[in-house]
């Protein structure tokens, strides 16, 4: 496994050119595609043009940016100027974006080299990448299993060591759950920390872009690049971005780590092996000098229902624009414009998207708005309060990211609610807008599992600091090679 910061140093020192790094990453990722199908499309021209630009700057002795020359992949939910951006959906399968999202712009300005757009659950709705309209992505640890979702493609390609950094999005767990399944680091920032401009909207009050990386340091550097106020996003906050890399710790002396009573009960009832893995993880934190304290999130159990009212409500409105009138695919049924809208949307959206649009429309509709949408937003307040109270007594919260390791393709796709339960531990933080990450925490039956760490709003540096200490002392991500990666064209 090569980390992004190692690659960057090699490029800066002239041991490797950016063009070489990009070409190797493209070759490796492409060679693994038959097994993984992590990408919707590769962008070799863009990658090589950027790589050449970086090489020119490096040769001239100039600063080419914090991510100079690092090959990265971005989830196909981020608009990239001149490239097709699909959000994993047929309805946008021909949409060529005339503009780039702010985060992509920032990454490219920092020298990152985008080699492709990764696969995802359609419009970010899903936890396995099986809802992609095009094909499912597979887990590099076992290609009969899912990589998680909705940022499945990004997780898979980083998990397979093809690129050290990818961009994902997290609305209810879509970065953390796949990071956990693929043995990588996945960070969901505080809501408002990173611009949403150019990121195709699913649930506006929950969506956040975040790094999915080989290690915590890469995540810290990447977050530092993409975070910050954007005048094009009214919900992005104008708070200075700390130097996250400088906040990475080697021990946890003086840190109070909250363990959530309700989560531990849930895990214990689900899987004793998992409970044991997390117990060991908490032990490791203690050995690093942290003090464990019990905290309570009594309303977290209502998170699932709350989320599945708010997110579909917002998405039913956000997805109304996909009607075949101005861009994207159009069905031609003959008849009037409304029939065109209806047929286009029926043909262009998959089942899960349709389900959520129906659910969301219902939750907002006359006579039900107060009982469902407003009530859910109030319970959201209760969930947020639980966290505020918990953080009065601890600096970070540690706990499960998932209730199981990666499951087999098809295992949960028949029952939507079984799939929704994959986000049980990640949804409450999303509802509260808090920063949370998943960091590799070990293996069960050879399959990776992640530890979730949560911090108070805008304290990503505390969260990353703790994750780094844990990562460096346990080194789980370095303990084994993902089976699919062993078959790849090798890199140095």
């Amino acid at each position: 496994m090569i980390t992004g910061h190692e690659l960057k140093t090699a490029i800066a020192q002239g041991r490797l050119s950016a063009v070489e790094a990009a070409s190797q990453a493209l070759a490796r990722a492409q060679s693994l595609e038959p097994q993984l199908r992590a990408y919707i499309r590769f962008t070799p021209e863009r990658a090589l043009a950027q790589a050449r630009r970086i090489d020119d700057l490096v040769r001239a002795g100039e600063d080419a940016g914090a991510l100079a020359g690092i090959p990265i992949a971005v989830k196909d939910i981020f608009c990239v100027e001149g490239e097709i951006t699909t959000a994993g959906s047929r309805i946008l399968e021909n949409f060529r974006s005339p503009y780039s999202s702010t985060v992509v712009r920032k990454l490219e300005e920092a020298g990152a080299v985008i080699i492709g757009k990764t696969n995802m659950d359609e419009f970010a709705m899903g936890s396995s990448c099986e809802n992609s309209a095009f094909f499912p992505t597979r887990n590099p640890w076992d290609p009969t299993r899912v990589p998680g979702g909705s940022s499945g493609g990004s997780a898979s390609t980083v998990g397979a060591w093809s690129v050290p950094i990818a961009l994902g999005t997290d609305t209810g767990g879509s970065i953390r759950e796949p990071a956990s399944f693929c043995n990588i680091v996945g960070v969901k920032p505080t809501y408002g920390r990173v611009s949403r401009y150019g990121m195709i909207a699913f649930a506006s009050s929950l969506d956040q872009a975040g790094p999915m990386t080989a290690d915590v340091r890469d995540a810290a550097i990447t977050l530092g690049v993409i975070a910050g106020h954007d005048p094009l996003d009214s919900t992005s906050v104008d708070i200075p971005v700390p130097d996250y890399a400088a906040a990475l710790r080697s021990d946890l002396q003086g840190m109070r780590v909250g363990i959530v009573h309700e989560f531990e009960e849930q895990i214990a009832s689900l899987d004793p092996q998992l409970a044991e893995l997390y117990r060991k993880a908490y032990q490791a934190l203690e050995q690093l000098g942290a003090r464990l304290v019990e905290v309570h999130l009594p309303h977290a159990r209502y998170g699932l229902a709350t989320y599945y009212l708010i997110a579909p409500a917002e998405c039913s409105s956000n997805l109304a624009r996909y009607d075949g009138a101005r861009y994207g695919v159009r069905a031609d049924p003959g008849g009037d414009v409304y029939e065109m809208f209806e047929r286009t949307r029926a043909a262009g959206f998959g089942d899960e998207v349709k389900r959520r649009i129906v659910l969301g429309t219902y939750a907002l509709s006359a006579g039900y708005y107060d009982a469902y949408y407003v009530r859910a937003q109030k319970i959201r307040t209760l969930i947020k309060r639980d966290f505020d109270q918990a953080f009065a007594g601890c600096d970070v919260i540690a706990g499960p990211a998932v209730s199981c390791p990666a499951f087999e393709l098809g295992a949960k796709s028949q029952d939507p609610v079984a799939m929704y339960l994959m986000d049980y531990f990640t949804i409450p933080m999303s509802l509260a807008g808090l920063p949370a990450l998943s960091v590799p925490a070990g293996y069960i039956g050879g399959l990776p599992v992640g530890l979730q760490i949560v911090a108070p709003a805008f304290e990503e540096h505390v969260m990353l600091g703790a994750a780094h200490a844990y990562e460096q002392t346990t080194r789980h991500a370095w303990a084994a090679t993902p089976p699919v990666a062993q078959t790849a064209a090798s890199t140095s």
Partner: protein
């Protein structure tokens, strides 16, 4: 199994989504378990609680009234499934506003 109260025909019409009968029946069944969870929400007393429409404490985010460069027309129309001259083209509108 919870009663699924959604009038799927009505709702899908509002959402301009032409569902087949099969889809409508299948979705209805699939929502059932979710509605068990949703029903639990009704038991909470939220009378004194304010709704969190926004988790961030921001107010008055606005921009100055300055005109900026727009998209060149051809770029704006580039993705249009149908166009006629400088216009986007859609099938006819039969009735009034909907």
């Amino acid at each position: 199994m919870a009663d699924v109260p959604i009038d799927i025909d009505h709702v899908s019409r509002l959402a301009r989504l032409a569902l087949t009968k099969e889809e409508a029946t299948r979705f209805s069944a699939q929502f059932s378990r979710l509605f068990e969870f949703i029903a639990e929400l009704q038991s909470l007393d939220v009378n004194e609680i304010s709704a969190t429409a926004q988790v961030i404490p921001l107010k008055n985010v606005m921009r100055e009234d300055v005109a900026q460069a727009c998209l060149p027309r051809d770029v704006a129309l580039e993705n249009a499934p149908a166009r006629e001259g400088p216009y986007f083209k859609t099938p006819r509108i039969l009735d009034g506003e909907s």
